[in-house]
């Protein structure tokens, strides 16, 4: 089993488009199987791109939620004093207080301070995770969260573990990483064989990718990069290349900005299905990444063969 993670640091950089195209191109090779772990829960678009048909879904519980039993509430206001996240509001009739679930950070400080025991914990369902079959072939695991719930290391682990269970020893798992550089991204990168860093050729894209490079290095992950949306600003393109050269991350290819590529953010379309010159250029880069992955797997399997021989 080989696991690769596609990460970008910034939302909208093209991570999901690249991850899904890569997964489809791997699955298109006879005898190969691929599983996608979509950990970009804030924008779970992998299911759309891959025209996913839900097989099964499971509730996801992150941690306990907190709620105020109106009948037990004396409106003393202790909870509001204790809440540092401005998540408690007076009810309409002013007779009690209520916790706004979308704002609640689920710390529990209100429960400790309530003198009437009106604050209680409950098993709050934070979202759901799904296993789906896709038209182009890969199995897809993804999740959707309720508003106000954040992707956490736990959720990424749940999605990755399920993908790992569904994949065979010979499969490739493509992780569509959570955005940013926090705990969910760490969980998206831990234990992976290759990190594919997507650098959007813009001010914010380059800055965020640079932070991601630092994280990948600190976790000692092998990494390569893809530049995306090039051709809009020669200055930005040059800055991106310089950043990668300075940090020693090999560049697998550059994908130019093209409205045709954005237009594939539709049901059942990935970059793999674009025809013509644009499609060929994009897939050349994707296939270059596929080549790196195959080389890694050959090394892995020859190492196993060597071990068996000895």
């Amino acid at each position: 089993m080989t696991t690769v993670s596609v990460a970008s640091g910034k939302g909208g950089a093209g991570k999901t488009s690249i991850a899904t195209a890569l997964a489809v191109s791997i699955a298109a090779v006879p005898g190969e199987t691929c599983t996608v772990a979509d950990c970009d829960v804030d924008a779970a678009n992998g299911a759309i791109a891959l025209d996913a048909r839900e097989r099964v879904r499971f509730p996801y519980f992150a941690g306990p939620g907190f709620t105020i039993k109106a009948s037990a509430c004396t409106a003393c206001g202790c909870c509001i004093q204790a809440c540092r996240f401005d998540a408690i509001r007076k009810s309409i009739d002013g007779q009690s207080y209520a916790i706004v679930p979308e704002l609640c950070e689920r710390c529990g400080a209100c429960l400790d301070t309530c003198p009437s025991g009106a604050v209680t914990m409950y098993e709050k369902q934070a979202g759901e995770f799904f296993v789906a079959d896709t038209a182009p072939g890969p199995i897809l695991v993804y999740a959707e969260l309720e508003p106000g719930e954040d992707t956490s290391g736990k959720l990424v682990r749940v999605v990755r573990d399920r993908a790992g269970q569904l994949a065979s020893d010979a499969s490739v798992i493509v992780v569509d990483s959570a955005p940013g550089i926090g705990c969910p991204v760490i969980a998206s990168l831990s234990g992976v064989d290759l990190a594919i860093i997507v650098v959007e050729a813009s001010v914010s894209g380059i800055r965020d990718a640079r932070r991601l490079v630092d994280l990948v290095r600190s976790m000692k992950r092998k990494a390569i990069a893809i530049m995306n949306k090039t051709g809009l600003s020669a200055n930005m393109d040059a800055r991106a290349r310089t950043m990668l050269a300075e940090t020693g991350i090999p560049l697998a290819g550059e994908i130019p900005f093209d409205p045709v590529l954005r237009a594939t953010e539709e049901s059942g379309k990935t970059w793999f299905s674009i025809e013509g010159e644009v499609g060929d250029r994009v897939m050349a880069t994707i296939e270059a990444v596929g080549g790196v992955i195959s080389a890694m797997r050959r090394k892995e399997s020859s190492a196993v063969v060597m071990k068996e021989k000895l």
């Binding site: 290391g153 736990k154 969980a187 976790m219 000692k220």
Partner: protein, 104 residues
């Protein structure tokens, strides 16, 4: 001295530390070893730091693992637990031997 290794299958070194299914705990004083389930596996946040606390509570001095996330690394260091790097999939015994009896 007590050593710990993350393991998902009970036989080989697992891929991750904080959310490993269990830990193999080896005590070189009596050459005993047990597999302890990772109680913090289900934690929403801080699985890595929780695992560090778990191992510290068991008196572990050395963690043998393929990688450790940055936050877990800080917690292990605070707990005075040394980290030795090993390869994923290695047999537990072999990974332990590499550290306890390092070849020159």
């Amino acid at each position: 001295m007590k050593y710990a290794l993350p393991t998902d299958d009970g036989k080989t070194v697992g891929k991750v530390f904080g959310r490993a299914k269990s830990f193999a705990l080896y005590n070189d004083a009596d050459a005993s070893y047990v597999i302890a389930a990772n109680e913090g596996l289900d934690a929403e946040h801080g699985a890595g730091t929780g695992a560090a606390a778990f191992l510290a509570g068991k008196g572990v001095s050395v963690l043998i693992a393929p990688e450790v996330g940055p936050k877990a690394a800080t917690a292990l260091s605070a707990a005075g637990i040394r980290i030795e790097i090993t390869e994923v999939g290695k047999e537990l015994g072999e990974a332990m031997a590499d550290v306890i009896v390092p070849s020159k």
